[in-house]
Subunit: 338 residues, 2 copies
DNA sequence: TTGTAAGCGTTATCAT
DNA sequence: ATGATAACGCTTACAA
């Protein structure tokens, strides 16, 4: 199955390959009828310009790469859909690679994409790692990269972030305002900046409302339901349960709720729970789970637009977009009489 | 930032470009010291072979494409991870594109990947559509394609399928064996072969156990929680509730459970529910949801291996792998006294 | 063992 | 308006 090339078409019509090329690239002078004839014949012959050949010798590939830590959770999947939407409409192809929360695989993914000459990259790093050195070196060399989500404010590059601190503050304040006195935060990972930002927001709210030291705890838990379950198990064993849990994400929250319910605690009557990075499940579980919704769609769109701007305008101005979310209060964190 | 090319390295060392090329491609004769010198210098100069140039003029790109209907649900995300694992270990790069359940976008994705000269494709089509004609034309031309999941047994191509009929049969039989007399199946879509297979399995179990016509229903519902909710709403309104629901997937099941609970029905005491294509949530919700687990990991691995075989052995023998699953029985479908 | 040069499928520059 | 040809970066037959 040999591919039909520009030469085949040229030979067929007894024209030069340049004419065929011109027919396919409007920008050149070519007689209208010639062009139409060529286009028609090419169509019949099943000719398709070879993008690989096009890339070679041209600086631009119209491919962009997206590297995410994972897409088993809805969050990045939704972000990717938005990114794809923007790029497809601009004639770009989006190549997605996931790093399985592994910095080594992440670096490999990024290099693969760069070597394959994508015009730019959107990277959501897994965790703090020295990969950042490599990425920033590329940025310095004017390679278009937009970072997303799990990145420090201080990183000198274009990026789209969620205002974790602020919304963490709101989530916490909501619990306080509901009258919960003792609040534990099931946090993510120490080396995840989003987790740290959320801890800061948590602390800020506690300070503002003068919650005493003995009335809160920050427990490094993780990102998985299983980890939520284990922590609750532990706390139950130690007879150390608060009025409310503020969790790193919905998965941890649901793990926590499950374990609490299994042990006869009612949510929210006995103990309230709130999640973060809302998932579709939040509305489906019992009780419905309060959570902070991150604007996945907007995040993807913003990142894509930032990258396109860098790619097309050669504007290497570094821009940081910080997005806001929504605090969706549902049954799981609404105070009721015991 | 001009990229270092093979020429730069050759010039630097006063050797020919072929020598440099040879140094990077073990298979040719080259003196050991020369090779090492070249490799070292190339490294220092930051030279990286340009994969685009490599692809041009060579038949192989060491890229493969994966096209899935969506990856917002865990199912395909997990399958992709397995696929990536196999291919990465063999030195291939995996390019993922999602079709948003849209056959037109799907065709576009497939064409994009083919034109970009991926060595082969794994396709999980969205729904029955005439795209299949195009795909099968490629297959006939010995283009390596492996189909996955949502494909008819009869499709003349290599494919990896789940035995939907069989496991649907088991799920239904389980409900019957629990003593549920009246069972409704919230089915997927008419034009989804997996849904149809599941309906067949459902029917088979009913026949085997001689369930009378008035004691079952098949209701086309869809794939979303929202759709499960709506159907239940409707049935409640019509005072037409069965003993048990067997749902197209976990999302529909969870939607159903939510609506039932909201209306004061207890699951499983009043009405049992079982899902399909188990998600992580199944274990976290109350009651824990019974479901059929599809072997996502195995599915990805099998598809990847089949594709590699086609690519590397030029064995165009068409192979069909049918996978089995697990019926995970949990609280939501276990009979208890009313 | 190493070098030369053709070729992969395009685009773009320069003639015509 | 059209054609001839170099160039993109690499591999590979062939020559040395």
């Amino acid at each position: 199955m040999k591919r039909t090339t520009i030469k085949d078409v040229a030979r067929e019509l007894n024209v030069s390959i340049s004419s065929v090329s011109r027919a396919f690239n409007d920008k050149y002078d070519i007689r209208k009828e010639t062009r139409e004839l060529i286009l028609r014949t090419a169509e019949e012959m099943g000719y398709i310009p070879n993008p690989i050949a096009k890339k070679l010798g041209q600086s631009k590939t119209f491919n962009v790469g997206v590297v995410v830590p994972e897409f088993v959770n809805e969050f990045y999947a939704e972000v990717i859909i938005a990114i794809q939407e923007v790029f497809l409409s601009k004639g770009y192809q989006v190549l997605v690679m996931q790093s399985d929360e592994n910095p080594d695989l992440e670096l490999k993914n990024v290099k693969t994409l760069i070597h394959n000459m994508v015009d730019g990259l959107i990277i959501a790093p897994t965790t703090e790692s020295n990969n950042m050195d490599y990425y920033l070196k590329q940025v310095k060399n004017d390679y278009p990269i937009v970072f997303m989500s799990r990145v420090e404010q201080s990183v000198p590059a274009s990026k789209v972030l969620f205002n974790n601190q602020k919304w963490s503050f709101f989530a916490t304040e909501h619990l306080i305002s509901q009258g919960y006195k003792k609040i534990y935060h099931l946090a993510g990972h120490k080396n995840l900046c989003v987790s740290n930002e959320r801890i800061k927001g948590f602390r800020k709210a506690l300070n503002k409302h003068k919650i005493a030291k003995e009335n809160y705890k920050i427990i490094e838990t993780g990102l998985l339901a299983k980890e939520g379950i284990e922590v609750i198990e532990d706390l139950i064993y130690q007879h150390d349960l608060p009025d409310a849990f503020y969790c790193e994400n919905d998965l941890v929250a649901m793990g926590a709720i499950k374990k609490l319910k299994d042990n006869g605690y009612r949510v929210p009557e006995d103990i309230a729970v709130i999640g973060f990075t809302e998932t579709r499940m939040a509305e489906l579980v019992t009780p419905q789970l309060s959570s902070v919704k991150q604007p996945t769609f907007e995040m993807g769109k913003s990142a894509a637009k930032l990258l396109i701007k860098q790619i097309e305008n050669d504007s290497f101005e570094q821009e940081t977009i910080v997005l806001n979310g929504e605090l969706n209060i549902r049954k799981s964190s609404i105070r009721s009489e015991k």
